[in-house]
Symmetry: C2
Subunit: 250 residues, 2 copies
């Protein structure tokens, strides 16, 4: 049967979701757990690659396996075999042709910034620290201009395989910046992402918040199709995959 | 001059605020930083002892020192000398007779519970995990019954020096239980606390939330003046000192 899992993980000590030659991946840790539980090591299809150090509130993946464990008991059983920084929230049997990556029609990422002269002693691995006060309203104005279907080449790190093949058009359906005291969150929902896209978008919105560029400048940055025009790639630890959307009839 | 500091700290690796023979205290780490900054090691008056592993969103303390550093620059200067898990939020010159403990007329603590079958992979050192679903409404009913002036002997750990001296009456001005998804927070404001009082209150409210006792049973527990009647002392890591109140004219 084809099983869909919803995971949360703290990505701090992982090289990302995808199996890599150097470094422990979330996928590998999960496969180790599945192998202990099921006696076989299934191939796992993740909803996206995530960078080293990126976290997930909800990450979706699927795999094929035969098991008599009822799906409502599967999370508890598998969690006993997983490290504490990876947790399965729920499990579900899905149609045979379901693929966690190809079936996803939207993914939402949150980028967390601690915006205060004084660092927080808490959660150092869950946000990016920026002491200078950000203009959140200006960031939000810029965020609204990024909603739509655009060529996001300017927001894609060099070496991006997809860019080489020219598939650099994506649709952002929601982009917003909110502040709760010093805690600033950039939220983006899109049908897909280029390599480092959210971290570069966040770095560019931060430049708007620092008044180094104007909100409307993001339009020009998009039009340039040149990575050099956009802001810096912010560090991985502030980034969370917050949500993956699948068709409702799933 | 008499200087008041507002601190946040992650208490995980400390034996509490107070200097202890065995183990590193927050006070000691702070005094080390002050000594590096000022060249003298001031005596520090904390607003309360905190247990090992307890955190603080806002902890108040005062000390006497001569310094030319303006108070608005003092936090930045001192933070450079402190470990990253202790941060000074602000500094202020206060009247000569101010004492952080005696001047405080109320302190608010929050106890954080992660109430889900599935643990969170995040923030393991900032909450207590309880898998069985808690009845938050019942907990809240019980919490309301604890608002008032009572003898809290039943909510004081054995060996409490204050209890020996009979000063076991305290006034709780606010007590509530709220849930945001699996994140349950018990909030208590009182003029003072007995040893382990919040952790025992939280343990007793959890028993109400588990339907092991009824909300109105907390009245009987207070009347018994017997530690054995109340619930267990919950672990330190879920506890935060959230706020210390001083007279407004300060």
């Amino acid at each position: 049967m084809n099983i869909l899992l919803d995971l949360s993980f703290d990505g701090t000590r992982y090289c990302g979701f995808q199996v890599q030659k150097n470094g422990l991946s979330v996928c590998q840790a999960l496969q180790d757990g599945l192998e202990q539980l099921l006696g076989t090591r299934p191939d796992v299809k993740g909803c996206s690659r995530t960078d080293a150090g990126v976290h997930a509130g909800h990450y979706a993946l699927n795999f094929w396996a035969d098991t008599r464990i009822p799906m409502e008991k599967f999370p508890l059983a598998l969690n006993q075999k997983l490290p504490a920084d990876i947790r399965v929230n729920w499990a579900k049997i899905v149609p045979d042709d379901f693929h966690a990556r190809y079936a996803a029609h939207a993914k939402t990422y949150h980028y967390h910034i601690w915006n205060s002269q004084v660092d927080s002693p808490f959660n150092a691995s869950y946000h990016h620290k920026l002491p200078g006060l950000l203009d959140v309203d200006a960031m939000n104005q810029a965020a609204q201009l990024l909603v739509g279907t655009f060529d996001f080449t300017s927001f894609c790190s060099a070496g991006c395989e997809v860019a080489m093949r020219g598939n650099t058009v994506r649709t952002i359906t929601q982009c917003s910046v909110t502040a709760d005291g010093p805690h600033v969150v950039i939220s983006v929902t899109a049908d897909g992402y280029l390599y480092n896209m959210v971290r570069i978008l966040a770095g560019t919105l931060v430049q708007v918040g620092q008044h180094r560029i104007q909100p409307q400048d993001v339009i020009g940055i998009l039009e340039q199709k040149n990575r050099g025009c956009a802001g810096p790639t912010l560090p991985a630890q502030g980034l969370f995959l917050a949500r993956v959307d699948y068709p409702q009839d799933l």
